[in-house]
């Protein structure tokens, strides 16, 4: 059975990962979200990061929503991390092992204790605004198959208050923190999209706070960046998103998805679809290196 769906579909919802893939290389977007294939291996970075996020989410909900004690909320978070990490194993000597990630969450709570952290989730009538999830129509867009508006979807760690000001907050695990880590958030579309969504829901956020925890062989590190998003930047982001979606639709209509054939092929250790682009017949190279993966950003992993 072929990994490629018999009937191709254009995504009903776009998220920041999809947009980033398309702007980096339309062909990557095509493989990942139209053919819906993904490398057969599990990235330890993604797996470990997801487990860490789950632990943090549950600890915050336990403390701010269920009103558990700090100690009990932390334990709830550790347990959630363990379950999310499962029986996954890294290669010996690699970082982000199970013990590394349990230690990373413990380290996070040392740096930012639940009871004294100046960043606190907003408490709404629905509960603590942890794992703030949204799906909003992208104004002016029409799905090429269904005729429905195309949705923009996202999820960030918390809508929070800091110094009596509203922000979106997102936690990141990293291999290394430094100037380049800190500088990468300035115009980052993912964060601007979060700010747009929060404002669409009536929360006048000023920008985003990003916290990083590095996991090294020699220990852990942490950093925090605040990046502001004035109205004009958010407006510009929305226009850009609309244009990007139109370009996606143009590729769809043309049944041709452009190749970047440049830095995107080699960034971050090499594009995972490189073997396909190196072949005149990519469909012959799908197995065993790839699996079918239906990407629905609205389904929580």
């Amino acid at each position: 059975m072929s990994l490629i769906p018999a009937e191709l579909t254009f995504p009903e919802a776009i998220d920041s990962s999809q947009r980033a893939a398309f702007t980096a290389c339309p062909r990557k977007f095509f493989y990942e979200y139209i053919w819906q294939i993904a490398p057969a291996y599990t990235s330890r970075h993604l797996h470990a990061g997801a487990a860490f996020a789950k632990g943090l989410e549950i600890a915050r909900k336990a403390f701010f929503e269920l009103k558990l004690s700090k100690a009990d909320a932390e334990i709830a978070g550790f347990k959630a991390l363990i379950i999310a990490y499962g029986d996954f194993e890294v290669i010996e000597g690699e970082t982000k092992s199970f013990a590394d990630m349990l230690g990373a969450l413990d380290y996070y709570f040392e740096q930012y204790a639940l009871d004294t952290d100046p960043i606190r989730p907003l408490i709404t009538p629905l509960g603590a605004a942890v794992e703030f999830t949204f799906a909003l129509e992208i104004p002016g867009t029409v799905h090429p198959q269904t005729g429905n508006p195309i949705l923009y979807f996202g999820r960030f760690d918390q809508l929070c208050t800091f110094n009596d000001t509203l922000f979106v907050e997102d936690d990141k695990t990293a291999s290394q923190l430094g100037a380049s880590w800190a500088n990468q958030w300035e115009l980052r579309a993912q964060l601007t999209g979060y700010c747009w969504a929060a404002r669409e829901y009536g929360y006048n956020v000023q920008g985003a706070i990003i916290r990083g925890v590095s996991i090294l062989k020699s220990g852990y590190g942490n950093a925090q960046e605040i990046t502001y998003r004035p109205r004009w930047q958010v407006d510009r982001w929305l226009i850009q998103l609309q244009r990007d979606v139109e370009r996606m639709k143009q590729c769809w209509r043309d049944t041709y998805w452009d190749y970047a054939l440049d830095g995107a092929c080699s960034h971050y250790g090499g594009c995972s679809f490189l073997p396909l682009c190196k072949s005149p017949q990519p469909e012959n190279w799908l197995e065993p290196g790839y699996v079918h993966r239906e990407w629905n950003p609205m389904v929580k992993l």
């Binding site: 100690a71 009990d72 334990i75 550790f78 347990k79 363990i82 379950i83 990490y85 499962g86 029986d87 199970f98 013990a99 590394d100 349990l102 230690g103 413990d106 380290y107 062989k217 020699s218 220990g219 852990y220």
Partner: protein, 70 residues
């Protein structure tokens, strides 16, 4: 941040019990976190104690002060 074989086994068993749905007590979580914290401290100390490789340069003073044209 490597763990000793014995600690590694304890943490692996602990994880397996949590994954199996066993009612693991808070004290056991703290015990495991204690092991992980201890290795973090050890790694930090070892990292700080590791001698930094100094760049070596050999300065040939005779050549430096050799009279020009000599």
């Amino acid at each position: 941040m490597p763990l000793s074989v014995e600690d590694q086994k304890r943490i692996t068993d602990f994880r397996a019990r949590v994954l199996a749905g066993e009612d693991v007590k808070a004290e056991e979580y703290r015990e495991m976190l204690g092991l992980i914290r201890a290795r973090r401290v050890t790694a930090a100390v070892e990292g700080a104690a590791k001698p930094r490789k100094k760049a070596t340069a050999v300065l040939d003073l005779d050549a430096l002060f050799k009279p020009a044209g000599g």
